[in-house]
Symmetry: C2
Subunit: 392 residues, 2 copies
């Protein structure tokens, strides 16, 4: 199968706000080859990501992603890995290329799975897929009482795990944070899984980040996510050394396997969180999962947009029974729902199952794309490099 | 001074080839504030870099660079650092943002220097600027004899230092590489400074990269650049541990201070090579220079385009007398020369001096921009986000 076309669709809510809600827009990718069609999604700013595909070449190590993809043969996973290697050399100086390739890579796995009638997780070498325990992700409340109440509500709604993050955490006094953590535990009850996300609020300040450890331990938090900046591995390791019970979590911004490996090996996290829409797709994410197993730590998906991206994010660790916690976006904007004709929902026991269907197992609705589609036109030197194609 | 305008100019040779020559195009940035004008240059793929400035917002941590710059006050270095911090939070998920900001940041230093009548290196806190020893950068020859001859030619042309890289190195046998290294030393004579650039040819293969160490030591090479992939810090450190005499060099791709610090602290390089057009500009590069001093290693500029970018690249270590070697592009394409009305040339002793003039000290010729200017037009949802402005 030769790759005949790679098309991008930029969809967005009519109004995009400053909220930290990544589901307000999306960049879908459609790949066509050999009569088959695959879909992927870049977790990225859509316009720069499209231009990294179509831009003119700058020199031998700064070529558009297009040059390494269009016309290529795709018969199996090795072909996808080959294109990834070409891009890593030929687009070495094009920073945005990793985000662009991520969605294409996903689409190629989807296409390959459909062509072979196999789910992607099987193409990755897993014999079966295990259910995951989704966590409800929410902000810390304005008050400790708000935090207690919303945690209790999530448990009542059927979640076994709740992630509290951002909001006032790290912005007030140490005692405020301690109060929020105890309130969260009270709301969850003794058996609820408590995950805490500091949103990198402490920068590189090891002392301030570590001051919260006793309360995290006392409230039996499972992980302490991004206490410091994502690449502050030295600070991560220093905090980890003081925290034998509560493991650190991080890695969502990794845009290559090196960054994820370093978060594990230098930063000493216990949970590595990978976004397939940034790290270069499903193949690199699977390599990170393998590395996590080798190091005895736990892989977790990072995803905050559509069910297509959710399915992709579940594939790399679908076959790992002991890596159970998964991110599951619950309150996405309509734009992220409209183009997915397939819905991934918790079962009666509140567990999430990766689709057992060819490819990523998520059908795309062109009408849903059209509803939120933004027309894009890019011209350079009198030549039109990109116009939004038809989603049909 | 309020930032009134930030304009990008995409210039390119009529034909851009696959050669590893980064001077085939350029992205210039002009910033206007308070009646002053500053110029900078992004070492980056022009089109994705422009779009990272003008693209619509995706969410609170994925905003265009524009939102953190236009309308901001710039009275001193602290204002530039403030904008950098805002971008690091508000454009956290926009990968290309670092490359976009790099050129703007340079232009802001240029503007500030012009407004105060001071060269940038003085604004950075240096009392004086020391001359640098430029190296001539060339490919290894097809044969060892070619390598010998071209090295001898550079010495005859007045260079004290020559960097040989890429070409056949690492692609043939170990003995081939040994022959090239001895030929280079023969061509340079006993006093010439020999720098070797492996162009990451050995991937992550520590054994293959290390097999060249005895010959590098025997030929008295000063550095061994990028023996492995830029982020393969584990491999860097393993090679460095075997090479007490010949220090490693790397870091050119760093797009933030963390990456440069990690190349030093985890990768154990002896020379850290920083491109101001990628790392976020002159301020972050100066922080890397400070870190290099603290670790007892040497800072080197990385630059391969115009004299504007060259001047910017020299500022962060202009005042460091002991950090003498500098990259000096000698065979750039005409597009990189046309827009610089000021030329930086070696003096009678073959040394390079950073301009002792306000700002970056490089006058821009709008006619030279116009000669190679590519008209760009970007439209999203019926709104024109960017059209190429006038360089006048």
């Amino acid at each position: 199968m030769r790759i005949e076309a790679v098309d991008f669709f930029y969809v967005a809510m009519p109004v995009v706000t400053d909220a930290g809600d990544g589901s307000q827009d999306a960049l879908l990718v459609r790949v066509r080859a050999g009569g088959h069609e695959g879909w992927g999604e870049c977790e990225a700013a859509p316009l720069p990501t499209i231009t990294a595909f179509v831009c003119p070449k700058s020199h031998g190590a700064c070529k558009p992603v297009r040059d390494s993809v269009l016309g290529q043969s795709v018969e199996g996973p090795a072909d996808i890995a080959r294109m990834a290697r070409t891009i890593s050399w030929d687009s070495m100086d094009l920073l945005q290329a990793a985000h662009t390739w991520s969605g294409i890579e996903m689409a190629l796995w989807d296409l390959l799975g459909k062509a072979r009638g196999e789910p992607v997780w099987r193409l990755l070498g897993y014999d079966r897929a295990y259910p995951k325990t989704p966590y409800a992700s929410q902000l810390f409340g304005d008050t400790a009482e708000d935090t207690r109440r919303t945690c209790a509500e999530q448990i009542a709604a059927g979640y076994r795990a709740v992630k509290c993050g951002w909001g006032p955490f790290g912005r007030g006094s140490l005692q405020d944070d301690i109060d929020h953590l105890h309130a969260a535990r009270e709301g969850l009850g003794p058996d609820g899984i408590l995950l805490v996300d500091a949103g990198a609020i402490f920068g590189e300040d090891v002392e301030a980040a570590s001051a919260r450890l006793p309360a995290l331990e006392a409230t039996n938090a499972t992980w302490y996510e991004e206490p410091v900046l994502g690449m502050a591995y030295e600070a991560y390791a220093a905090i980890a050394a003081r925290s034998p019970e509560v493991k650190l979590a991080g890695g969502e911004a990794a845009h290559n396997v090196f960054m994820a490996r370093h978060t594990i090996d230098y930063g000493k996290v216990g949970y590595i969180q990978i976004d397939c829409g940034r790290i270069g797709g499903i193949g690199p994410a699977k390599r990170v999962a393998d590395h996590a197993i080798a190091r005895g730590i736990t892989y977790v998906n990072h995803t905050f947009t559509s069910n297509l991206a959710l399915s992709a994010s579940l594939q790399p660790f679908a076959g790992l029974e002991d890596h159970r916690i998964c991110e599951f976006p619950v309150a996405t904007q309509d734009v992220a729902k409209a183009f997915c004709a397939t819905r991934i929902m918790p079962d009666a026991e509140g567990l999430i199952h990766v689709p057992d269907a060819p490819g990523l197992g998520v059908a795309i609705d062109p009408a849903g794309i059209r509803r939120y589609l933004l027309d894009v036109e890019i011209r350079v030197g009198g030549v039109t490099l990109y116009t939004t194609p038809s989603p049909d």
